[in-house]
Structure formats: structure tokens, C-alpha cells
Symmetry: C2
Subunit: 286 residues, 2 copies
Amino acid sequence: MSNPSEERWFYEVFPQAGTSFGLEVTSKLHSEKSSFQTIDIYQTTTFGKLMVLDGCIMVSERDHFIYHEMITHPGLFTHPNPRRVAIIGGGDCGTLKEVLKHDNVEAVTQIEIDERVTRMSEQYFPELCELNHDKRATFRFEDGIKWIKAQPAGTWDVIIIDSTDPVGPAKDLFSDQFLSACFKALGEHGILVQQSESPILHTHSIIRDLQRDLNSVGFNHVHTLPFPLPVYPSGWWSATMASKSVKPEHFRNQDAQNKSFDTHYYNHSIHQAALAQPEFMKLTLA
Amino acid sequence: MSNPSEERWFYEVFPQAGTSFGLEVTSKLHSEKSSFQTIDIYQTTTFGKLMVLDGCIMVSERDHFIYHEMITHPGLFTHPNPRRVAIIGGGDCGTLKEVLKHDNVEAVTQIEIDERVTRMSEQYFPELCELNHDKRATFRFEDGIKWIKAQPAGTWDVIIIDSTDPVGPAKDLFSDQFLSACFKALGEHGILVQQSESPILHTHSIIRDLQRDLNSVGFNHVHTLPFPLPVYPSGWWSATMASKSVKPEHFRNQDAQNKSFDTHYYNHSIHQAALAQPEFMKLTLA
């Protein structure tokens, strides 16, 4: 039952899940209260630097690649030609970097409500911000919900919702009004990708509700792709993809196989694999 | 940095990984020192009952199904006709239960060094022990290494090594002498499956070494299958399969699709998916 000194550890407790995850830290590098949340940066002993928002782990240097690759590449390799991509949230810029690896992409707009998250990422996670100066990238620091509602119909190919948990400020990013506005802003082959929490903790709640809402606002195909994520609750996470026309299983497999860029988790076999549904998910989401 | 009262939580700290995992508990149901280890049983608030050996989480009621299904069904659906199966370790009997679901199986022997683990599982995890009275099952409580060395050559179809971490008593279950003895005890289409720790923590160490050793003792095909496991370090775990003849990708897909029994994680698509290697594993294990 003993636990090491709290001086040397950061703990995130998930009361609803009845679990706690801790990382050994050597120092707290930064702490501030922005207009939206408390931002803490730690140096850990084994997971590199760690960004924490309101006590919830957002990103670690060691395992962020799995999340950023899986919230980006399956969606972009499903759309037939993703030229215009919007990222709602995503302030650490890791998703932006993955999107910009695609040669088809002509324009990416990142709409993050809290500019301080991006400034902290530039300072402490420069690897995630390597492509921030790409001329295809636009940064807007404002409310993503208002922004998406103001977009002309059919103007985006892919919208990625790279948000925090559906409580507090991010709650409305899971509402059907917001998802409906995304649907309208997407073109005829439009793809939406939403981070969708843990398969083992949330299949019966957030994932099922999100799939239902995505179907109800008009998407023809909705599919949840699980992936591992050691620093998030349960170590198992997911992205839910909604598509207007292309079935998720008909993604551009050959293009993924011949991709011109490096990845650390994603490849065309992993993409195919992430479409497989564990038996309990199949039954619950049927 | 605050952490709830240690009275109400069980914590497992992984010093080498620099991580800690905690589960909220309502009570400690049992604690004993067997001849081999300390066995603790807790009632958790959200993961059901929990068995802990020498401070390391072994099994929880909520997520054990992923481990037990993934250490069993891929191997048994790869062997062309698995009639005789040996389980080294596996004292909680969850793997035995999954093996006995296969109609081909005529005999299963479980060789667990610590009889107390099995007795505790019978008492606190009756669901795992539901098939212990199947007449095809034999229980031996002795050293699995000595046992396997005494087996006549070619007498087993599948050997599953369902052990604790490769430190202390289980260390020799990762040695090439032991793996070589397993190879000899296996028939011409023999399959060995070994629990092989965390892809993100151990691909460069335990998994790479195990693959090398399995190849060096004579197996023609070696493949590591990752799967999620929330209560184990990093929430991501693996089973490594070694085969004398059948390539892992040539498993009995149709039989898996038409399986006569229920599962909660495994199905033929998940089996196929688990054969996909994340990019960093492909590079490290090439």
C-alpha cells in the first residue's frame, strides 16, 4: 500500500474510474493560471516533459506520438484528397505537425481557445511545434464552437477535434449542435475525427453517445478506432471517425503504404488493425 | 500532486518505468505468505476483485478477459489442431478456462508452482475457475521448468507460458534453456506463447531478447502480439508467439470466425489486428 513521496511524483486521480496514474518527476518546470485553466509543466524521469491542464495529463514527450498519429493519419488517409484541414483544440501543435506531413494538405487552421497552451508547447515541447512556421498553417486563438458555426458550408475536408475530456470547457465539443455545425462545414467527402476517451471506461457512455450523435447529424459512416496511450486513464484510448461518403474500411491503403513521411506508431497495417472492434465494443455499439 | 488517502488505495509502483498505478479499494479480503510469495486479495471500487503477488497486480475481475483471451486464442487458432496444451504458471486458471473452450482440446495440464494461487482464485475468482472440473484438465503444483524438461519429445501441441514478470521465480521461464526444453516437448506444428511485457517499455529489452532466443532454439516464426491491459504497467501488454511450422498470419481465420464460444475481447478481426506491428516495433525487431 505504500506510495513514494509525493514530492517526487505527479499523480492524476480519476475518481469515476477508481484509478490513479503517477509519473516520477524531478522538477516542476512551470505553472500558471491562464484565462481558461491551470497549466503545469513537469520534467519526469522516464516520460520526458509532461504538460498537465487542470490536473489532467495532456501530453508527455514519450508517448504523445501514438495519440497524434492516430488522431490524424487514419482520417487523412480516409478522405480521398484532404486539402483543407481544421483542428479544433490541439493547442500543443502535435496534431498540426502530423497533418502537415501530408503533401495533399494546402491549408490547416488550428483553433485553440487558450493561446498559453500553444506558447508553453513552443517553449517546452519544441518537437511538437517543428512545423508551426509552415506557410500552410494558420493559428486562431478563439472559441472553436463559434468559429465552426461561422464557416461557409462545405469548406473543409477534414475536421479534427483534439480536445480535453468532455467536462468543463470541452463539454460543448461533444454536443450535437457542435457536431451538426461541423457536418455543415465539411465538403461532400468530409471526415470528422474526435478524440473519444477510453474503450474500457467509456464504450457504454461517451463513445456510444458520440456515435449516436454523429449518425443523427447526418454522417453515413461512424467508426471508433482504439489505440494504446500509457499516460491517459486506463492506458487505452480512442478516436472516433465520422465520414460523409467513404467507408472507413475503404481508406487509401496504398497511399498509406507509400507514405512519404516517417511515423513511430502508425502504418497501413496499424490503420487496418485499428478498425477491428473488440467483441465487447461490437456488441455495445451494434 | 495530491493523492488520496493510502488507506483507500492500492498502489503498484514500477521503479524502472518511473510510473505508478493505483486502484481505489474498499477492503483487503485476504493476505498470506505462501512458500513462494505474498498473496493479497483486495476488493476495488471499480475493477472488481484484485489479486496481487509480491506487490504486483496479477489479475482484476474487470479486465482479465483481455489478457486471458489474447494469451490463448491466437495460439490455439494458429496450431492446425491443438489437442494437447500445457500451461506453465497460470495459477489463477483464467487461461485454462479459455483453452478448454476449444473443442479440439483433449487434454490440458496446468503446471503452477504455487498451489495457494489456485486455491485463492477458486475462492475469490470463481468465474476464472468455472471449468476447473472439466475432465480434460490436470493440475500439477510443481516447478514448470523441471516438469517441461521431463516431458517426452514432441508430446505437446501448444505450450502457454503464463508467468509473472521475468524477475525472481519467473526469471528462468525466459531463459533459452527453458525455451529449448519447450521446443523439444512440442510436436511438429508446435506453438509456444509467452506473456512478454509492455511494447512501450520492453520492446528494446525483454521482447527483443525473447524473440532472439525463440529463434535461436529453433522456432521458424516468432511474432509479438500487443493488446491493451489497463491494470498492467503502461496499460499495454503483449504475448509473443513462436511457431515451428505455421506462419502466424496463416492462422485458422475461418475457424476463429465460426468459433463455438463467447469472448469479450478476442474475435477473428482482433486476432488479425494484433498481428500488425507498430512502426517502432517493426524497426526495433527487424
